[in-house]
């Protein structure tokens, strides 16, 4: 199987060829959540049992890096009705996960003796599509 460097996993705002990589990104964390439904009962002989299908499925993205331009701050502080947008996670050579995400938070860290840094979180809203790179 092909291994992949962390720098080849990027978060993009938008979809398709016009999508733009989130500027200044240094570390991204993507979690895919399949919430389980616990159906354990007296007949389970003390072992937990879960339903085969997830109750709620979601993808959360946490991205952090160096502040580079006004784009993300503008999006975070933009009109409250414009917080849902299309985003993609591209894993070079492996595949792309895309869908609609809610821009949940944006934090700025500004030490006097370092570069300004940000961290942001995106929470999926609706289905996420996974396309494997041919």
């Amino acid at each position: 199987m092909a291994k992949v460097a962390g720098r080849k996993i990027k978060v993009y705002a938008g979809t398709g060829p016009s999508a733009v990589a989130v500027a200044g990104g240094r570390s991204d964390s993507i979690s895919i959540n399949n919430e389980s439904t616990d159906v354990t009962d007296k007949s389970s002989a003390g072992w937990r049992e879960l339903l085969d299908d997830a109750s709620v499925r979601s993808v959360d993205i946490t991205a952090s890096g160096l502040i580079d331009g006004p784009g993300l701050i503008g999006q975070a502080l933009g009109a409250t009705t414009a917080l849902l947008g299309q985003y993609e996670v591209r894993i070079e050579g492996i595949g792309t996960a895309s869908g609609q995400f809610h821009f949940s938070s944006y934090e700025i860290e500004a030490a006097h003796d370092g570069a300004g840094e940000y961290s942001m979180t995106l929470a999926s809203s609706g289905p996420i599509t996974w396309v494997v790179t041919p």
Binding site: K10, A21, G65, L66, D68, D113, G114, A115
Partner: protein, 131 residues
């Protein structure tokens, strides 16, 4: 030119603009004595570390600026160090091909050399990104 050289060039130019005699490595006599006219400064050794983002490369560098003085006290060395600090600390320098994010002095020291001269060392840390 590489970031290493352009950074040195930018620091060098800023020091010269202060009216200081600046060298990469000061000329030496065969016995190791300095052939440069005192006082002078040297900026040569710069340690670079990567400071990359996923979409752009950058560097975190530390440049050592040496001050050499041959007077009866440390005052001349400290005066020069102060002059460089006033120019460089949180200052701007133009590095070709790079965008400066930060420049600041991290430490400053003066020692007496066995030949009776004074050697001042200041470390300047900079953050740059390739444009």
């Amino acid at each position: 030119m590489p970031a290493e050289f352009e950074t040195q060039r930018a620091l060098f130019s800023a020091l010269q603009a202060l009216g200081l005699r600046a060298y990469d490595v000061a000329p030496q006599a065969a016995d190791g004595a300095s052939l440069a006219v005192f006082p002078y400064v040297e900026v040569g050794a710069i340690v670079f570390s990567p400071m990359d983002a996923k979409d752009r490369n950058g560097f975190d560098f530390v440049a050592r600026i040496h001050t050499r003085s041959r007077t009866a006290s440390m005052k001349e060395t400290k005066d020069i160090q102060g002059q460089v600090y006033a120019r460089m600390h949180n200052g701007e320098i133009e590095i070709q091909g790079q965008s400066l994010i930060l420049l600041r002095r991290e430490m400053s020291d003066v020692t007496r050399v066995s030949d009776g001269s004074f050697h001042g060392v200041c470390e300047y840390r900079g953050l740059i990104e390739t444009v």
